[in-house]
């Protein structure tokens, strides 16, 4: 039995998922919120991107269940000796990937290659020969490389068939559930879905899901024998790195906005409601904070954090914990430096709301300040908070890449899109070029950010139909780094 480890970001991520579920329950019970979210549910691009986003979340959750595997008992140990656990912290995703993807090579190799990218000297029949050596794991099952094309095709077709079967099974399951829900026969439900007349775009969602299944099927089929996206300089599979980067990106995108909410909501509502000197002080605070160049402030905080981690090694026993604390603190730092925009919006809105009749009436009835803020103001600004949270997500994912490139992002031992791009940057100038690292980061990031953007746009349109553009405009120096 392995020992489960709950890292800080794991706990935060699970708490966040629970929070989202609780929110969904609340939405289902409130007719008002249900109508608004209904507009998102009926938006085709948004729901297709939601399917893609869910797939990403699934990978991140798998990657967030960490454990330390039990080591086999030492030879000669007593039978009742306590089980020793490996010092390496693994996640469920690691376990799945080590079972399916070929192990690490020695150096670069191109996607689906059977030979290494760089030449090495080997001894063949006692003679030193300089050649591209065969990979240890990728394509190692091939006795003769002439059968490569046939083997790749066979695996791809098998994977495609598997993906197709999975897509069919999922479609069947979804249609059965929908038929039950609509109290229709299965045939009629399928007809409605296929005709695209359902209000929630089930047909488009099922097509997206099917395509996703097919892609995953082909990749899984190929990676049973090859490195589908090649390997990097130290021989690690690029596909594995990209998959593990997803969790980092999601944690940064979601936890950061959560971290900035307490500051933004607390200060924003207080400034807008109390006005007077409280407003002056809070305005001064956030103007001071925004006037410091964003990247420099973050860099300074991260440098300080690094010094703290370096001088207190006893607090963080394993490397995974150290990397995780750095990620967690990075989210807090980004949240701490980024709350000003939302605070400004909430202040203006609270100022407007506190002049309305119902707030005046509550005040006339002698309701306390705290109660007015909590019961009357907060629920009426939640749509701004929600819009900001979903809009900020994608820009934070992009921002992480910039920060990692600057060396103030996540721990170098932690996989992230930023570190992948950073590594790929120097490899582009080699000849022949090493393009697969960059391509992998590009494709995964584009899929994640594009679907997040499409979903966020739908949420904004639903909650802000007048198009008042509650877009937090971060400092330009920060937003468009190029």
């Amino acid at each position: 039995m392995p020992q489960f480890v709950l890292l800080w970001t794991d706990a935060a991520l699970f708490a966040l998922i629970l929070g989202v579920i609780a929110y969904a329950w609340r939405v289902a019970r409130s007719p008002n919120l249900r109508a608004t979210w209904g507009r998102v549910l009926h938006d085709t691009p948004a729901m297709c991107s939601a399917v893609v986003l869910l797939a990403f979340v699934l990978v991140a959750v798998l990657d967030s269940v960490h454990y330390r595997p039990a080591l086999p008992p030492a030879p000669g140990a007593a039978a009742d000796a306590p089980t020793a656990y490996s010092p390496v912290t693994l996640s469920v995703l690691d376990a799945v990937l080590t079972a399916t993807v070929p192990a690490a090579e020695r150096s670069w190799s191109a996607p689906l290659a059977t030979r290494q990218f760089t030449k090495e000297t080997e001894l063949v029949d006692g003679e030193p020969v300089r050649d591209f050596p065969r990979l240890q794991y990728g394509g190692a099952h091939l006795a003769d490389e002439a059968g490569w094309a046939a083997d790749v095709t066979q695996r791809a077709v098998l994977g495609l068939a598997g993906g197709l079967a999975a897509a069919m099974a999922l479609a069947l399951l979804v249609s059965l559930l929908l038929a039950l829900r609509w109290r229709l026969g299965w045939r009629e439900a399928c007809r409605d879905i296929a005709a695209g007349v359902t209000r929630v775009p089930w047909r488009a969602m099922l097509i997206t899901l099917g395509l996703l299944c097919l892609v995953i099927g082909v990749v899984a089929g190929l990676s049973s024998g090859y490195h589908v996206l090649g390997t990097d300089r130290t021989g690690n599979d690029v596909l594995v790195q990209a998959l593990k980067s997803i969790r980092t990106a999601l944690v940064i995108g979601s936890l950061t906005t959560i971290a900035m909410l307490p500051f933004a909501i607390g200060f924003g509502l207080a400034a807008g409601y109390f006005k007077g000197w409280a407003d002056d002080v809070i305005q001064y605070l956030y103007t001071t904070l925004t006037s410091i160049p964003g990247i420099l402030l973050i860099a300074a905080c991260v440098l300080m954090l690094q010094v703290f981690i370096d001088t207190h090694p006893e607090l963080f026993p394993t490397a995974a914990q150290r990397a995780d604390v750095r990620l967690f603190m990075l989210c807090l730092i980004l949240g701490f430096t980024g709350w000003a925009g939302l605070c400004r919006l909430l202040r203006a809105e609270a100022m407007k709301l506190s002049e309305l009749e119902y707030v005046q009436a509550a005040r006339a009835f002698g309701v306390g300040h705290g109660r007015i803020i909590l019961r009357h103001l907060l629920p009426n600004v939640m749509h701004i908070v929600l819009i900001t949270v979903v809009l900020e997500f994608s820009s934070l994912v992009l921002y992480e890449a910039v920060l990692s490139y600057l060396g103030v992002g996540v721990d170098p031992s932690m996989n992230s899109f930023g570190s992948m791009i950073d590594m790929a940057r120097t490899e582009m100038s080699r000849d022949p070029m090493i393009w697969w690292n960059l391509l992998a980061a590009f494709v995964f990031m584009l899929a994640l950010v594009l679907s997040a953007n499409l979903f966020a746009d739908a949420v904004r349109d639903a909650f802000d139909p007048r198009g008042a553009r509650f877009r937090v405009r971060r400092r330009r120096a920060q937003r468009s780094p190029a």
Partner: protein, 325 residues
């Protein structure tokens, strides 16, 4: 008007003081000079004597805020806070940890930074406005739809990809421009062409979409309908009425950004090897040179405050309805 500006100026000074205090707390109180010394010396060479020596060398051997051993005003002036913060207000940035004059470096590097930032800013704004006007002109057609899709796709791509693929395409494949580097005189054009183009493409997505929303909002107003009703062509309506009215908020909000152009752009400068303030900052972050980082934070916040002031003034000039309170 004068009273208003003076009041805003005073507020700006207050903010700069706040930034100064905040960065000082961030840099010195969270980590003591001992920690910084350990970091700077590094590894196995850390001994008590080495730390003391480093602190004396860098001038960090005094108390942080209050010097109990001194008398009179020296109680406050013989401290790290006084020695490190007050010169900043006099534009004296002192020396970097590596022993170079920061003020001189900044004056040397502001030129290349501006040479990249100004064309990027002007051309970027022009390109984004032109593109968004095109979309607004063809609104509710397939061109508008795919234009917006194009914008969303553009803004979903990290700026790093634009730089890397731009370098690959223009410098490696087509051999039109050098990879990176900088030179004075007319050669500058050759070196700056690629960074400017890349920055234009990277900015086009978010900005064109933003401007499109702005123009559409303006185009839905009553006076625009009146203009159309009296028989003006769509072109005249768009350029003479919509553009002119929508440009006002765009221009006044971009006034706030102009002073910040001095700071240069971190990523582009370090990728393209332009010796500006952005790459200076990055080098300082990588070398963990706190003096330079503090100087740049101070410079950035002063420029930001100037930008705020300019924006306030331009609002009142551009729109007489805004009263100065």
């Amino acid at each position: 008007m004068t009273g208003y500006i003076v009041r805003r100026l005073f507020y700006g000074v207050l903010i700069v003081l706040g930034v100064n205090l905040f960065t000082f707390v961030l840099f010195f109180a969270v980590n003591t000079p001992d920690d910084m010394a350990r970091l700077a010396i590094g590894g196995r060479h850390v001994t008590t004597e080495a730390i003391e020596q480093w602190k004396v060398q860098q001038g960090y051997d005094k108390p942080l805020f209050v010097n109990a051993e001194a008398s009179g005003t020296a109680k406050l002036t013989e401290t790290i806070f006084y020695e490190r913060s007050v010169p900043l207000l006099r534009w004296d940035f002192g020396f970097s940890d590596a022993g170079r004059d920061i003020t001189y470096e900044i004056s040397q590097r502001a030129g290349p930074s501006l040479a990249l930032a100004i064309p990027t800013f002007v051309l970027g704004m022009f390109a984004s406005i032109a593109f968004s006007l095109l979309l607004v002109y063809f609104r509710a057609t397939w061109l508008d739809f795919w234009g917006v899709v194009f914008c969303v796709a553009l803004l979903s791509i990290s700026a790093l990809f634009y730089i890397i693929s731009g370098q690959y395409l223009f410098a490696k494949l087509l051999r039109l421009t050098p990879y990176s580097g900088f030179a004075g005189g007319w050669d500058m054009l050759r070196f700056l062409a690629l960074p400017v183009i890349v920055a234009l493409v990277a900015k086009l997505g978010p900005e064109a979409r933003f401007y499109r929303a702005l123009f559409l909002e303006e185009a839905g107003k009553d006076y625009v309908r009146t203009a159309r009703a009296k028989g003006l062509t769509e072109r005249v309506v768009l350029f003479r009425h919509v553009l002119r009215n929508a440009m006002l908020p765009i221009l006044t909000s971009s006034v706030a950004v102009i002073p910040l152009l001095f700071m240069g752009s971190l990523i582009a400068e370090s990728f393209f090897g332009i010796p500006g303030l952005g790459s200076y900052t990055i080098d300082a972050i990588n070398a963990q040179d706190f003096s330079i980082v503090r100087a740049m934070v101070f410079l950035g916040s002063v420029l930001y405050v100037i930008g705020l002031l300019l924006a306030d003034i331009s609002y009142t000039i551009a729109d007489p309805r805004v009263r100065m309170e």
